[in-house]
């Protein structure tokens, strides 16, 4: 088990270095002069040179990268925005809770839909309920989240006036200069985005859970459990579900990471100033430190998530521990 964890951790480090390196290279290749942007419109060539020196931009690329990495690892510092000198750390840390609220809430919603529906469908294949569920799945997969988001915010937000059309409220309470805050406002503003975000994933997960449960029901050890005299309910909870959920846990880890990227669409539709929204905005302003910061932060999250999933997986599936 210890060796397994160490190996996973080493992999995480390798992944982290590769991701930051690739991201850094991409921004280096784009033919723009960051120093000129950072120095401002009225800067003289001398000013630009000074800025370039201060930002390490006059060094070879590998030194720049090592400087960036050193700042990041040793000082946990992602740099400063070219546009307004704001610390990238604070920009990312302000945006992160918004994306986290959106994604984690959506995960809860989609699992809360997918597990019961998927298991029900598997227990009664070809029944009316199963057919309704499968039609729902097809619809859920086909509907585009942006379209669904716009429709939802038009009807539920504008026409019926049940929910806010867009915007975000901090869970911890209203920040100075903001109108709303606290858990209730937070929940109220996010509930429509959560459901819109969850639809596509819920559809995929219903289908996956249904087929996993169906497959597991035919396993020999499930028959053994029945032959031992286990009642159906126990067979399902102790023998079928645990095994059927193994692949779902893996998928969930990967999908949460993917959903961080997918949140760009939902954040744009509902005007939530999360990571995706911030990244898009910084790109249009050529504010590289912000874009880079968001990308690095998101990749670290993905790596950490995968690590958690790997460890969780070893815990629920004893066969992994030896491998």
């Amino acid at each position: 088990m210890i060796r397994y964890i160490i190996r996973r951790l080493l992999w995480a480090v390798v992944l982290f270095i590769s991701v930051t390196l690739v991201t850094y290279l991409i921004f280096y290749i784009i033919p723009l002069d960051p120093a000129r942007l950072a120095a401002g419109k009225a800067a003289t060539p001398h000013d630009v040179e000074v800025v370039a020196h201060r930002l390490y931009l006059d060094r070879p690329i590998w030194q720049q990268y090592l400087h960036f990495l050193g700042q990041l690892v040793l000082h946990h510092n992602l740099g400063y925005s070219y546009a307004n000198r704001q610390s990238v750390n604070s920009v990312v840390l302000n945006a992160a809770p918004i994306t986290a609220s959106l994604v984690l809430g959506a995960v809860v919603v989609w699992m809360a839909i997918a597990v019961p529906v998927g298991v029900y469908s598997a227990l009664r294949p070809r029944s009316l309920g199963d057919r309704v569920a499968m039609t729902g799945v097809l619809t859920g997969i086909s509907v585009h989240p942006v379209w669904l988001g716009l429709i939802a915010s038009y009807f539920l937000g504008y026409k019926l006036d049940l929910f806010p059309i867009q915007g975000y409220c901090a869970f911890t309470g209203a920040a100075p200069g903001e109108l709303c805050g606290g858990p209730i406002d937070w929940f109220y503003h996010l509930i429509v985005p959560w459901f819109v975000f969850a639809v596509l994933y819920a559809a995929f997960y219903v289908r996956m859970i249904r087929s996993n449960v169906l497959e597991t029901m035919n396993e020999d050890y499930v028959r053994t459990a029945r032959a031992k005299g286990a009642p159906e309910r126990r067979v399902l909870t102790h023998h079928v579900l645990r095994n059927a959920m193994l692949p779902v846990v893996t998928m969930l880890g990967m999908d949460v990471a993917l959903a961080l990227g997918g949140s760009i669409l939902i954040e744009s539709v509902f005007g939530l100033p999360g990571l995706g929204y911030t990244a898009i905005k910084s790109l249009s302003q050529f504010d590289y430190p912000i874009t880079l910061g968001v990308v690095v932060f998101a990749s670290v999250l993905v790596i950490v998530f995968n690590l958690i999933v790997d460890l969780l997986y070893a815990w629920i599936d004893p066969r992994i521990r030896l491998a």
Partner: protein
């Protein structure tokens, strides 16, 4: 009164292609402490017979008739919950493939404990002690340390021992073993069979042994039921089947038994068993039978006792002299100096 008395058992499955008659009119009985072997090729209905008795067929698409009287109760009409109490406590079952028959995410100890606690209110420690006792009884080395291991940490033979321990942990009256040695290598097979014989002596359980291997039958069975294409075609005690076989299919099974004796040629039965969806008219074996004549193609032969008035039954149209001659020929082929 026999421990289990099965009469006119019929099981069929509704499929997309039509109704498959998987077991057609099978009757047999098992006495306390005895072993009945059900023999036949793959798909002849031997496993389904036992799954029907256990009530383990899929409920939605199975049609069952007949009766299976076990200790004065008809298992086929027993309510779900009553049947659940019988399974694992009074009748338990071992399956063919020990590699897939244990739940991979639970420890052996936990699975054994579950078998106990499903039928008896018992604290964890007591159930653990019972599990440990059983694991020792089936000869798993270093039993104390192995209860916390997972199935993948055991070899195939050891897993089958665990399955046997789990099946016998509640001291059942009847043990159904569905090809318990098929997935194991030959040396392990012998160990498992010896273990089952020994445990039968110790615990006094009756055994129904399902197999396609007459070698296994020879080592364990008291009574034998030979099935072909969902029907019983011959049944009798051990000697009836091995020394006085009366059905050409049984002859075929006996002569396809590999032997080490010099010059003994391996003679397979030509062809494959018929589809149970549309079984052939007349005797179901006639398509592969070298003795078949006109009547075999039209009339279904009934299961009748041999003329000596014993419990030896067979379903074949051949006349008495032909059966006598065939049985002697086979005996010559399969025995060396009058011994199997």
């Amino acid at each position: 009164m026999a421990l289990l008395e099965v009469r006119d058992l019929k099981t069929s499955f509704k499929t997309d292609d039509g109704i498959v008659q998987a077991v057609d009119d099978v009757s047999f009985s098992v006495d306390k402490g005895r072993t009945l072997a059900i023999v036949g090729e793959s798909g002849c209905g031997k496993s389904v017979t036992c799954l029907t008795i256990m009530g383990l067929n899929p409920r939605q698409n199975t049609i069952t008739s007949g009766e299976a009287v076990f200790k004065d109760r008809d298992l086929l009409t027993l309510p779900q919950d009553e049947m659940r109490k019988v399974r694992g406590a009074e009748i338990s079952m071992i399956f063919q493939d020990p590699m897939t028959s244990l739940n991979p995410v639970h420890t052996i100890g936990r699975q054994l404990r579950e078998a106990v606690q499903l039928h008896e209110k018992m604290p964890k420690q007591a159930a653990n002690r019972r599990a440990l006792e059983m694991v020792k009884a089936v000869g798993i080395p270093r039993a104390e340390t192995r209860l916390d291991d997972y199935p993948h940490q055991f070899s195939g033979g050891m897993r089958q021992r665990v399955m046997i321990a789990m099946a016998l942990i509640n001291n059942p009256d009847l043990l159904i073993a569905d090809e318990p040695t098929t997935a194991l290598d030959v040396t392990t097979q012998a160990q498992i069979l010896n273990l089952m014989n020994q445990l039968q002596r110790d615990f006094g359980s009756a055994i129904i042994l399902i197999t396609h291997d007459l070698g296994v039958v020879a080592e364990t069975a008291d009574e034998v039921l030979v099935m072909y294409a969902a029907k019983a075609i011959e049944q009798g005690d051990y000697g009836d089947i091995f020394y006085r076989a009366r059905h050409p299919y049984t002859w075929g099974l006996l002569s396809s038994l590999p032997r080490l004796a010099q010059g003994a040629e391996l003679k397979p039965i030509p062809g494959a068993p018929p589809s149970l969806l549309r079984p052939p008219p007349g005797c179901r074996f006639h398509l592969r039978c070298t003795y078949a004549f006109d009547r075999c193609r039209t009339d279904v032969p009934p299961l009748r006792p041999a003329p000596d008035g014993s419990a030896h039954l067979d379903a074949c149209h051949l006349d008495e002299t032909a059966k006598q001659r065939g049985s002697e020929e086979i005996l010559d082929r399969i025995t060396v100096g009058g011994r199997l």
